[in-house]
Point group: D2
Chain length 232, copies 4
Amino acid sequence: MARGSKSMVSTPIIIVNFKAYLEGTGESGLRLAKAAERVWMETGVTIGIAPPSTDIGLLASSLKIPIFAQHMDAVVPGSYTGHVTAEAIKGAGAVGTLLNHSEKRLRMADIQACVERARQADLMTVLCSNNPPVSSACAALGPDFIAIEPPELIGTGIPVSKAQPEVITGSIESVRRVNPAVQVICGAGISKGEDIKAAIRLGTAGVLLASGVVKAKDPEAVLLEMAMNAKP
Amino acid sequence: MARGSKSMVSTPIIIVNFKAYLEGTGESGLRLAKAAERVWMETGVTIGIAPPSTDIGLLASSLKIPIFAQHMDAVVPGSYTGHVTAEAIKGAGAVGTLLNHSEKRLRMADIQACVERARQADLMTVLCSNNPPVSSACAALGPDFIAIEPPELIGTGIPVSKAQPEVITGSIESVRRVNPAVQVICGAGISKGEDIKAAIRLGTAGVLLASGVVKAKDPEAVLLEMAMNAKP
Amino acid sequence: MARGSKSMVSTPIIIVNFKAYLEGTGESGLRLAKAAERVWMETGVTIGIAPPSTDIGLLASSLKIPIFAQHMDAVVPGSYTGHVTAEAIKGAGAVGTLLNHSEKRLRMADIQACVERARQADLMTVLCSNNPPVSSACAALGPDFIAIEPPELIGTGIPVSKAQPEVITGSIESVRRVNPAVQVICGAGISKGEDIKAAIRLGTAGVLLASGVVKAKDPEAVLLEMAMNAKP
Amino acid sequence: MARGSKSMVSTPIIIVNFKAYLEGTGESGLRLAKAAERVWMETGVTIGIAPPSTDIGLLASSLKIPIFAQHMDAVVPGSYTGHVTAEAIKGAGAVGTLLNHSEKRLRMADIQACVERARQADLMTVLCSNNPPVSSACAALGPDFIAIEPPELIGTGIPVSKAQPEVITGSIESVRRVNPAVQVICGAGISKGEDIKAAIRLGTAGVLLASGVVKAKDPEAVLLEMAMNAKP
């Protein structure tokens, strides 16, 4: 299996966004990545990690866990400074990228260009959405996954699967109507095994989470409990 | 000497911005970085490289050459996705960062926050400017270096030191008046030893360049010729 | 008929974007607006104008022609400086707004919020798109019109209806599949009656144009010839 | 005295930012503007208003009070959609513009271009700053006024002149050192005559305020009390 291969990714999937947390950066990020890798190996549940861009190349050189960039820019390789291209993400060994996270919203034309460029570079795309109409629009652009995250629940510990199940089911319906090939995962407030169980029961293919794992006292234990609950 | 230490940086300095060029990304970027390191070792002239963010950690883990990020965001570690913090840059092993490149302009309040945050993280700042009044404003914010680059000359091969020497000397004067501790380097169109010689003669502490080296047939030869001409 | 009423708008429609052209600003903009109004009165073909925001209130106070804002921000009335709200557009007497013009691209979540807020404020939305997949995504958000404009043709005088008819027909198909209630108009390079005729023949409900009229020696004559050709 | 003439502006000055408040938009904005004009006439203290852009032309056509835009874009007249040019602001009858408000931050190069373009169009500039180092940088760009507003106090009713007097005095010193021709005003939390008195005592040339007047039950009474306290 090639380094950074999309074939490593199956569902259900748990994607851990390291964000810009100190716990997910540099040495600490490496420890967290290793813990995630162990849970993946142990349970067989696909776990992806999205570390800060500065760490992608280094983590990919020593780990096998699927790595996602947190963001990608809609530019081709060339005279651009401070931009993250599909080629740089792929070249560093990642398998895909988050797009349009609520903390890094993208313009619509750029999302379309990113999805297309990522596909050409053989990268998976996890396109973030905030409500059912936006999920429809996202589906029309053909990403691999849509991650539905109501921004007001991010970081609260209140799971979207409990607080706003209709946002998830509504998004799944919207997406199916427009483009049934796109899978839906959900995020915001996910921190326990029962949250992920509920998410899967609502019809999602997994979850996107961050602080629930990254800021946990024992991230490996939390992630293990989640992965166990994600199993069919 | 610690990894990623500012003490590696002296003047004159040549900073090579790898931009988002394929030649500066992934495996190709590693080769380019090694070539730059050899020239630095051979000549003793400080050469810094600014690779894509995705490669910073990996390059820093195997090379000694001073590495700069191409961009930094004005946020503290925390709940931010797709942002590059001072801590991530430092943690990945870089010594500093470019800021406000003409291809990644920053808002004024963010530049001030970045300069301050970089200082706290012991990172050097190379703040890009486009004309003498902007250079004055930059100087007031106290970066380590100001890189004056008329945007219209970037990538043209027409050296700013020849085409617009008054922009360089005007910027140096403006900067001295406001903050004499800040050093000025220049960029845009630099591709030969004589360009860097002219830049130093005009009073700069070095150059910031990109395509002149990155897109050269033999980057190492070009860089070597430049470094020889940069010597006092 | 109320001031700024949507009921003034029927199809085929010709929307003239005054952009930031001097010819469309202040006194000159007023003259242009009056010329457009005369053509509308004379031909019965709906002509909308999109002047600079600073002129909307004044033009609406003395003219009857349907006025569109060039841009709207996705914020509710409140503590926002330099933003254009739906309420400000409506309050100034306009009937609708352009959204996501290639010169003012919006983030996807903001487009969705703008379309919804405009609807609540009884404003029409003309959502700009650049290619068929983006048109699909736009359709999912439910604007009144989608204006398909390949950015590379804007201002060239090469009509999209001739140069890239498949972009128009492809967009129309994409839009119908996702949301048949949305009408499609097209722009870029439209400057003659035959261009608009071709656009309507391809299935559009009209055109969005700018320099072809605004920078014309005799804008009224050009617009009149267009309106005559737009008639069924 | 010409319409929209800078000669109407003297110090001390009170600038009322209508923001995107409903109370400052459309018909309500017109009433507020008239109240401000009466206070100006009655007291002789310069009062400027910064209404939503959509209302500038209409207000300027029927009132004499100095009007400022809330924002300006750094583009020349031409093919730009949804941008506010110096020419549009001037043409609509305003005397100047706010720049870089904390709710509409600008990139440094754009601020410099805006200040220069505004000067060419004979418009005054009120450049917003958030702390002393940024005030220094602002001063280097040569605006007419710098408005120092700690963002964390905006809309709180806690006057900056009381909570953080050192931010004001520090900014005044920073500005004098770099460019003594620039006048400093202050904002954030200003809602009473004593606040403006304190601001002037600290060395400012006036205040920039918003909710304290716009959201007041009786804006005219509040503004009158302020103007009386601003008198030498």
